[in-house]
């Protein structure tokens, strides 16, 4: 029995890693589109979302199939369950990347070339979190996963700052809410991406040693 399941798991894993890479790239592109005012890149991210949605469903069905057909236990079960959960986190990350891309398009339409304020750091941090959480998953590296969980606080802090900055900016230009709200949304999206990366990291920890670390921080 093992061999069948193992073969299927390996196949699924491979597929899943491709999916991870896709999502990671999506986030990177979305963020880049904001910086580089690259409408085309943004449109590309938006279009690719369909693929991600499709992949998500396929992977979910695959997981369910494995659960139904092979009745896995212990590490195999934990692996599939984690995959199921990480899958939906990744899909949400994909959605959030689309959000960012949409805002990016809007910003370009409003013809506001330079970001009102700098959130390079936030972008970098959240990208890193996504990357690290996925690496932790692939390498089954508990340390990396823990690093992701710790990084989340910083992003939350950064996001709070954005609110302040927006408030300040509005005091100068009360009419600029539309453009500012775009940035607000992007910041919010990045913060959520960080949250989802954290979730992934938590699931990785669960997969590795079977303990649920959620809601402990």
């Amino acid at each position: 029995m093992s061999k069948y399941l193992q073969a299927e798991l390996i196949r699924l894993k491979k597929r899943f890693y491709e999916y991870c890479a896709l999502v990671e790239e999506d986030v990177r592109n979305a963020v880049r589109s904001v910086y580089e005012n690259d409408k085309e890149l943004a449109m590309q991210v938006i279009e690719k979302d369909n693929d991600i949605d499709r992949l998500e469903i396929e992977i979910e069905e695959e997981c369910l199939k494995l659960l139904a057909l092979y009745q896995p236990v212990a590490i195999d079960l934990r692996f599939i369950i984690s995959m199921l959960k990480i899958n939906s986190d990744l899909e949400r990350i994909g959605d959030l990347a689309v959000n960012i891309a949409e805002r990016s398009v809007r910003i370009i339409e409003l013809d506001q070339k330079n970001p009102v304020f700098d959130f390079t750091l936030m972008c970098e941090r959240s990208l890193l979190m996504v990357k690290n959480s996925i690496d932790a998953l692939i390498e089954l590296d508990e340390k990396k996963a823990e690093a992701v969980m710790e990084a989340d606080e910083e992003i939350d802090e950064l996001h709070k700052n954005v609110f302040k900055k927006v408030g300040d900016a509005l005091k100068d230009k009360p009419n600029s809410f539309e453009i500012l709200s775009q940035y607000l949304t992007i910041s919010r999206a990045l913060e959520r991406i960080g949250d989802h990366a954290t979730n992934i990291a938590e699931d990785v920890v669960y997969m590795i040693n079977g303990t649920i670390v959620r809601h402990q921080g």
Partner: protein
């Protein structure tokens, strides 16, 4: 493995309204189904539901059973195997069978066991027999374990090896279809494992039908699953479908263990 859509494949075996009676009592009633080429089809269902009965009808094994009578049609590649003009011996060469308990011929060496189906009907060509022996043992994943002792008796192997030997012997006559009646139910988990892996490999070459009591086994090894209940075919569907979302309520109840 359960991914190829069944309907792409060619139909190899088909039954039309096949019933088997033991005296007056029907063992299975009016079963019509199609077995697809180069796929694994599993028969599941509670004890006494007629799985074995139906399986045995597919290679005329009921000819040997006292009081058993078969009605309806069973076509292999379009020819009715119950046609009176057909010699059952010919049919059984096309449709091999593996039984619940390993059945090596007790006095024969491993080699003779494998080539029994050829040697005993008069094929004497040594090099041909050697070739067939090696091929069949390789197919049944036994070659490496026995190649140095082909002359030792088949009975000296372990249970799991004997079952693989039975499979090799069945394969030696190049059947197009392989029927397996609970082939692992008398084996330990390890040997079961080997046989299941083997089924996965063989199905690229032969069409396989397997009766099993073990639903997990059906779910693991088969592409399509037929669920029998009190002599009736209740549902025939892709295995994935059966185990995640069967069409029939009774199938669902059975596989979730609510009866049977």
């Amino acid at each position: 493995m359960n991914n190829e859509p069944s309907n792409e494949n060619k139909i190899r075996l088909e039954t039309i309204d096949l019933s088997v009676f033991y005296g007056q009592n029907p063992g299975v009633k009016n079963v019509s189904l199609q077995i697809f080429d180069k796929q694994v089809t599993a028969f599941i269902g509670p004890s006494g539901c007629g799985k074995t009965t139906f399986l045995r009808a597919l290679n005329r094994m009921h000819d040997l059973t006292r009081g058993a009578r078969v009605t309806g049609k069973a076509l292999i590649d379009g020819t009715d195997i119950y046609d009176p003009k057909i010699d059952p011996v010919t049919i059984r060469r096309k449709i091999g069978m593996v039984f619940q308990k390993p059945t090596p011929f007790p006095t024969m060496s491993i080699y003779d066991n494998v080539v029994a189906g050829l040697k005993l009907v008069g094929i004497k060509n040594k090099s041909l027999l050697d070739e067939v022996c090696e091929r069949s043992l390789r197919q049944s994943a036994l070659w490496e374990e026995v190649k140095d002792r082909l002359k030792t008796p088949g009975g000296s192997l372990s249970g799991g090896q004997q079952q693989r030997l039975s499979i090799a012997r069945a394969l030696a006559v190049e059947p197009e279809v392989l029927l397996m009646d609970e082939p692992t139910s008398s084996l330990d988990p390890q040997s079961t494992n080997r046989i299941e892996e083997l089924i996965g490999e063989l199905k690229h070459q032969v069409t396989i039908i397997i009766v099993t009591h073990n639903m997990q086994q059906a779910s693991r090894v088969s592409d399509n699953t037929a669920f029998f209940y009190i002599g009736n075919l209740i549902e025939f569907n892709k295995t994935t479908k059966i185990f995640t979302n069967p069409d029939q309520k009774r199938t669902e109840e059975y596989i979730t263990g609510q009866f049977g």
